[in-house]
């Protein structure tokens, strides 16, 4: 890996945002599954 080990200004971790994106996707998939179950 050729990335520098130290972070530069304007390069901050976004772990919370990444987790939020995955949670939103799981919720959407669950809602779509429910929609299909209720209206089929």
């Amino acid at each position: 890996m050729s990335a520098p080990a130290t972070r530069q200004p304007g390069d901050t971790p976004m772990t919370g945002r990444y987790i939020a994106a995955l949670v939103v996707e799981v919720v959407i998939i669950l809602l779509l599954w429910l929609l299909g179950r209720v209206y089929s």
């Binding site: 990335a3 990444y18 998939i29 299909g36």
Partner: protein
């Protein structure tokens, strides 16, 4: 189309060009022209990235899919959020720190000039042809709606787009995309409002959902693990992950946009916008199509939505046969509407099957009469709704949205083609030592030349349905393989230039073989290509030490 609708379209086109040209300030250097001096805010980049993906054919084709089959297509986007996270952690910081103009430039820093040139060449070939199709596909539909010739429609789409892209560069593209996204999303919500208003005159929302659900249109998920089935949750999560990793991580038309962001964080935020918004946006498009289906249960639809073909068949020697089908269609439609109103599920399903069978016969009749063997009626469903149902002014807004979608999808590709041509070929191989003004001039010329090339391809492609299909398939042939090269570059330390190059060749050969000799669905091609490139690349790298 009424005069006021035309006025809306003309005002929109004028506004796009004038504002696009106004945005050309600060593009007096190559970095300003191709990367907006790396100063664009994340939300501009994020909206621009999404606008590039929404082509006019997305608006008409995807709503048509929603009309015909419901929400299933959304599964192909399930891999996108994870892809955005992986790219935010990997390529965004790599490319931004490397201060490159193109994604492929980084490959020379990591491997060698041969690998850079090969991948950039593949990009130019694929995108160069697909840009023509990006213009041709909507031109075919728009020309049918407006009654224009295809060449007039292509020129109406291309001239404003090439003008603001070649003069204003990526800044004009990005800021125009922002406006175009606003127009597209506003018009979709407006259409949903009109549809709900029309539907609730006959039934409540609950009954409308029941009707759509009884036809399977609200069943979005398929858990079947079948490599031949195109849209399943597995092909979406795995195949879609690799498709989106490749598209957003290795395609210059996307990479160029987040290279223009102010910082690594701004680039990441712009990609994460897609992670949050893309699936709901796709559901909005598909849901609009499903609503159009419910709407036309209560309002009489045409038997075939392409009115030009309808007229052609009605004037042909098989007009009597067509007229008989029309009578059967009218009877089946009335039976279906009555069943829907009385909540008679069995009667509704029977009448719906009869209607679909009659439409299939009518479509075949069109194919036989016109010789257009690839005719797909679903592409004309939403345009028909727009031009015959939408109120005055809103129809114009919707047509403007179709122009917006066609131009936003094309302009990003055009700018990316120009940057790869100038940076990866002209400046790297032909004229290595010249001043910035020279490269800027060449960049503008390259943009205009690619624009001209796209017009010529689109004029040809519009007449060749098979060519459109070939070009679309071409994209899936090389996407996964290019992704494999970037995986070798960014995630491994042992791969070298020889391994990356021969891995790329092996990946292309394997994907072509799989595509032409097996029934495996195209979303899987991206995964297969990437895996083959990484394996072969690592083996050859080790052997060549």
């Amino acid at each position: 189309m009424r005069p006021f609708d035309w006025a809306v379209v003309i005002v929109y086109l004028t506004w796009v060009v004038v504002d696009g040209l106004r945005r050309s300030k600060g593009t007096d250097k190559v970095e300003g022209y191709f990367l907006g001096n790396r100063t664009l805010p994340w939300w501009t980049v994020g909206l621009s990235v999404m606008a590039t993906q929404i082509s006019a054919i997305t608006l008409v084709g995807t709503t048509g899919q929603g009309y015909a089959t419901g929400l299933r297509f959304v599964q192909s986007y399930f891999g996108l959020p994870l892809a955005m996270i992986i790219l935010s952690l990997t390529v965004v910081p790599f490319f931004t720190r490397a201060r490159v103009y193109t994604a492929y430039e980084y490959l020379e820093q990591r491997f060698d000039v041969r690998t850079r040139t090969a991948t950039s060449f593949l990009f130019l070939m694929g995108r160069g042809l697909s840009l023509g199709v990006t213009l041709a596909a909507p031109a075919v539909v728009i020309s049918s709606i407006l009654g224009w010739s295809i060449s007039t429609t292509v020129l109406a789409l291309a001239i404003p787009m090439v003008l603001y892209t070649s003069i204003g560069g990526v800044q004009a593209v990005a800021w125009t995309d922002v406006k175009q996204m606003v127009i597209i999303v506003t018009s979709l919500f407006t259409a949903v409002g009109v549809l709900l208003y029309g539907i609730t005159k006959d039934v409540g929302i609950g009954q409308a959902m029941d009707i759509a659900g009884s036809t399977g249109r609200l069943t979005a998920l398929s858990f079947t693990f079948d490599l031949r089935e195109t849209y399943t949750i597995w092909s979406g999560l795995l195949g879609g992950l690799f498709l989106h990793l490749s598209y957003f991580g290795c395609d210059q038309s996307q990479v160029q946009r987040y290279l223009a962001a102010k910082s690594i964080d701004e680039g990441r935020h712009s990609l994460m916008m897609s992670a949050f918004v893309k699936i709901p946006l796709q559901l909005l498009v598909l849901g609009t199509g499903a609503l159009v289906f419910v709407f036309y249960i209560f309002q009489t639809p045409p038997m075939l939505f392409n009115r030009a073909h309808d007229a052609q068949v009605a004037a042909s020697p098989r007009a009597a046969e067509y007229s008989s089908l029309q009578q059967q269609f009218d009877g089946a439609f009335e039976a279906r509407r009555a069943a829907a109103r009385t909540d008679d599920h069995t009667g509704f399903a029977d009448a719906d099957r009869r209607l679909q069978a009659i439409r299939a016969q009518a479509t075949q009749l069109v194919k036989d009469t016109t010789g257009d063997a690839r005719y797909t009626d679903v592409n004309y469903v939403f345009p028909t709704f727009i031009t015959t149902v939408m109120p005055i002014g809103l129809a114009g807004l919707m047509i403007a949205a179709m122009f917006a979608a066609a131009m936003s999808a094309s302009s990003g590709e055009l700018s990316a083609l120009s940057s790869a041509t100038v940076i990866d070929f002209y400046r790297r191989h032909f004229v290595k030592e010249a001043d910035d003004a020279h490269y800027l001039k060449v960049s503008k010329i390259a943009t205009a030349v690619w624009g001209l090339f796209a017009c010529l391809v689109s004029l040809y492609a519009a007449e060749q349905g098979s060519l459109i299909e070939v070009v679309n398939r071409y994209g899936s042939f090389f996407y996964g393989s290019i992704l494999g090269v970037f995986i070798l570059a960014i995630l491994t330390t042992s791969a070298n230039g020889i391994g990356a190059f021969w891995g790329l060749v092996a990946g292309m050969v394997v994907v072509l073989t799989v595509a032409f000799t097996t029934p495996i669905a195209f979303l899987w091609h991206n995964l297969i290509g990437a895996v083959v490139v990484v394996i072969v690349g690592l083996i050859v790298s080790r052997a060549s030490r």
